[in-house]
């Protein structure tokens, strides 16, 4: 690629975005992050419960079978 075109492109992109960007709302971001994390943990929790419920029960071992005598 022509380096002059690359330089011009980079310059133009910088000009296009030369806009006063507001500072990030850190409280909103961390709140959103915590909500996302809670949602994910909730989904993982529900998924885990479902997997546990659907999992086949282990076969009874000799020791677990109650003596009938």
């Amino acid at each position: 690629m022509n380096p002059n075109i690359e330089t011009l492109l980079a310059q133009d992109l910088r000009e296009l975005t030369a806009h006063q960007v507001p500072g990030p709302d850190l409280d909103a971001i961390t709140r959103r992050g915590r909500a996302l994390r809670r949602r994910r943990m909730g989904i993982a929790g529900v998924g885990g419960t479902a997997v546990t419920a659907a999992a086949p029960r282990p076969l009874p071992t000799e020791r677990s079978v109650p003596h009938t005598r």
């Binding site: 690629m1 075109i5 690359e6 492109l9 980079a10 133009d12 992109l13 910088r14 000009e15 296009l16 975005t17 806009h19 960007v21 507001p22 500072g23 990030p24 709302d25 850190l26 409280d27 909103a28 971001i29 961390t30 959103r32 992050g33 915590r34 909500a35 996302l36 994390r37 994910r40």
Partner: protein, 173 residues
């Protein structure tokens, strides 16, 4: 200005907030070129940083935490483009200034912006990461989750498309 910490914030939160404070403006500019709207860009950055918060340990352990977060940003932008109700990106840059300046440079930039928003998502992201964020081909590949060869071919196709579009606009004028 320094970032604020909320009362009762733990060490993890403090580290995250410092990272977010330092990167947000640059991410916001990249997001703007990815979606074509400052407000959507702000929301994109918030979502990307919120996801970084969820995976903060992974972000911190990454070879290049900045590239990791840019990858989240690009993926989030792509996810929104795929949605059927996603707004079509429109150029607002040329009309966004208080005093219109129709010099040759401004017109060229407005055309470039139009052309950029017409590029497929991958090509647009490649141009933004390489030429606005100044990432190397290797870093761009890491941020996009593809090979360096793909970055090269995407960049080459994007440049050809941009040139073609700008030339066609000039021919019309």
């Amino acid at each position: 200005m320094r970032f604020r910490t909320s009362p009762g914030a733990n060490e993890r939160d403090v580290a995250f907030r410092e990272f977010a404070w330092q990167r947000a403006a640059s991410l916001h500019r990249s997001a703007y070129l990815l979606c074509g709207d400052w407000h959507l860009a702000e929301d994109l950055v918030q979502e990307a940083l919120a996801k970084a918060y969820v995976h903060w340990r992974r972000v911190q352990d990454a070879d290049n935490p900045d590239a990791y977060v840019r990858r989240i940003l690009v993926n989030e932008a792509r996810r929104r483009w795929r949605r059927k109700d996603a707004p079509v990106p429109r150029a607002e840059a040329a009309t966004d200034r208080a005093e219109p300046d129709w010099s040759e440079d401004v017109v060229r930039r407005a055309e470039l912006f139009e052309a950029l928003l017409r590029l497929p998502a991958g090509q647009r992201a490649t141009i933004v990461l390489r030429h606005l964020d100044g990432l190397s081909e290797r870093e761009t590949a890491a941020a996009l989750g593809c090979s360096e060869g793909t970055v090269k071919s995407q960049a080459s196709r994007a440049m050809a498309a941009l040139r073609k579009y700008i030339e066609s606009q000039e021919a019309k004028a």
